[in-house]
Symmetry: none
Subunit: 211 residues, 4 copies
């Protein structure tokens, strides 16, 4: 069953892997099943990927890149830094919900699999976090000072990211009560996270120090 050459099969393998992922979940993602979906033998996959790890890493990398393109695209032309942060938050969740199969392997995989994640790919993946840190940084523009300013920003953007991730992952896992209006929940999460800037600059009453 020869293909039209030129790596068309490689593309097909990646696509079908995502398909399997979407329909049967990561647990059932096996080389044989992928091969079956593609219409080739399991052996053929090894012509394009050194092993299963490499295949998955490629998939993750594609996902990371796709997410980053989406996020950076979304804030183009958005002038207000505050608004930019909000847009990012919203796009993150939406991208996750639109690409659950990517999202699952990107962020919901057992850490064991990630230990061997190549450094070059890791750097690309981090951009998805940095874009939040940057937006937050511009958003507070100089108002957060002191030695630990940068650390504070990184902490805050990590907190934002975890919150967004929580929403995406629970929706994907179908753990959020279906009787709730999904859009409303998303909006609420976005609202909660996108006020981080105000907190950092202390621009509202709450002066509580948390234990």
């Amino acid at each position: 069953m020869p293909r039209s050459s030129n790596g068309a099969l490689k593309r097909a393998i990646l696509d079908c892997a995502r398909e399997v992922l979407l329909e049967q979940g990561y647990t059932h993602l096996s080389m044989r099943r992928i091969a079956n979906a593609v219409g080739c033998t399991a052996t053929s996959i090894y012509l394009y990927f050194q092993n299963k790890d490499a295949l998955i890493h490629t998939l993750i990398d594609e996902g990371m890149d796709g997410l980053f393109q989406d996020l950076s695209g979304s804030i183009e032309g958005v002038a207000s830094p505050t608004e930019r942060l909000r847009v990012l938050a919203r796009r993150y969740i939406e991208w996750g919900l639109e690409n659950p199969e990517y999202y699952e392997i990107m962020f919901m995989l057992h850490p064991e699999r990630m230990e061997r994640y190549p450094a070059a790919m890791y750097r690309r993946a981090r951009r998805n976090l940095e874009i939040f840190t940057e937006a937050l940084s511009e958003s507070v523009d100089g108002k957060v000072t002191g030695e630990s300013a940068e650390a504070e920003l990184r902490v805050a953007s990590a907190a934002i990211w975890t919150a967004l991730h929580g929403a995406v992952s629970l929706f994907i896992a179908q753990r959020v009560d279906v009787s709730l209006d999904r859009d409303a929940v998303v909006a609420e999460v976005v609202a909660q996270t996108s006020r981080a800037a105000e907190r950092l600059t202390g621009s509202f009453s709450s002066s509580t120090t948390f234990k």
Copy 2:
């Protein structure tokens, strides 16, 4: 290796399953490994649990109960509703980080395994969400009115929960940058979520409507 009868072995199985879970992760949780840890045969496990699903569901149920006990205990004697919400948020994260093996199977499992989750257990699990809804409800005490008042509260508490879950799950999966101060991130997440009440009651400026 006969036990003192009467389900002592059942207890041992559950405990050892958690042990295996903690030490080797869910991926490596197999009937044989549990049996090995217990000191019985894999067959024996089937005397107490219909199958692997049932065992895991029991484990999840125990975890859900443990979490609920912990959460309810934590707000006993806390008068301020606002403070109560904050305490709950903090306790949720802390419990998750203290009981990662429970948390992993409770909330980080592929939905496939949950599809068969028994209704009775499901109801018990929901209390962990409801406790947030209640706290939030008391926190806004009557200030959120109208037909959709209840829905709004449920939406808001779902949003809180997802944010908390995001933090716990990413920490467990070791996906949060290790160079960050974990306590600081947790504090930040707690801070972000525990201001939900203010939002609902409109007690601050932001009047943005989210697209």
Copy 3:
């Protein structure tokens, strides 16, 4: 296809493994083939052996023990030390030719497989060499003296062993010209090796020093 319990299958596995070994050679000795020969599934083998290595090591150990029993039995009641050495040499070759399948895995395996050979088994295996050293030692009885006496004996018995092994292994591998009288070759090898004692004691003319 349940067996008569009590490890009868374990025995059958070992026996059939030897059978496969004899008929198809080590290269084709696979878990599946063994299972096929036994009449069980490959999985069942793992009930009795941790893995393929363990199975082969058991086989080797059995062979080593069998050889040792044979060798020690052969010299019982042989009074003359010189004659004892000759008998050992002859029995070694004969045992090898009678048990080619054992011999092949015992001494003709790639060292890679032997790296993991358990220490306890290794000690048992060494007895087959030591029995030669002892016989040689008694054979020269005190006539070889000096600091390096023991080392000399060990060197000489190693040389004897390698010669015997060479004959066995080449016969097994069918590399010796079939037109030759096998018994004659064996007799010649035995003759060559069993005069080692004379050499050590210098009881004949040859005083050449070998570079």
Copy 4:
């Protein structure tokens, strides 16, 4: 990666095969690995060799020729027939230890692979035995007579060869106690074998007839 045409690639394949053999052992010698080492595809190998067997046979043939050149060269100018035999014995072992990768496939392969060994090559390989027979023959020069004289010589030289092979193969397989002085063992083996002439001519006391 086109070569300078005319079989340069064939040469590279053979050389790299030996390299792989030396570094990874026969077990890991696969067409793919050879191709990798050469820098061509596995398919290309089939342009020069009908199959893996043919490749290995060629390698064996080269080895057999190399050994023969070495052996014949070694006795040039050695006048004494007795000394010639000794030199041959020593060179055989040394050549084997210096070219373990050749030796392994030449003499330590499962007979299955040799069954298909081409007759022409087989004849060339035999010269390595005949050179021993000849040396032995000259060594006893007319003193061994009778109908079976030739057969006796062939038997004796086969015995010599097996002894030498035993030493080489066990050293290569790392089965000889590493605490022993290798040179001493080799010297001992050479000593044992090179006295075959004396035995044949009955030039020493031992009049034992071997059972």
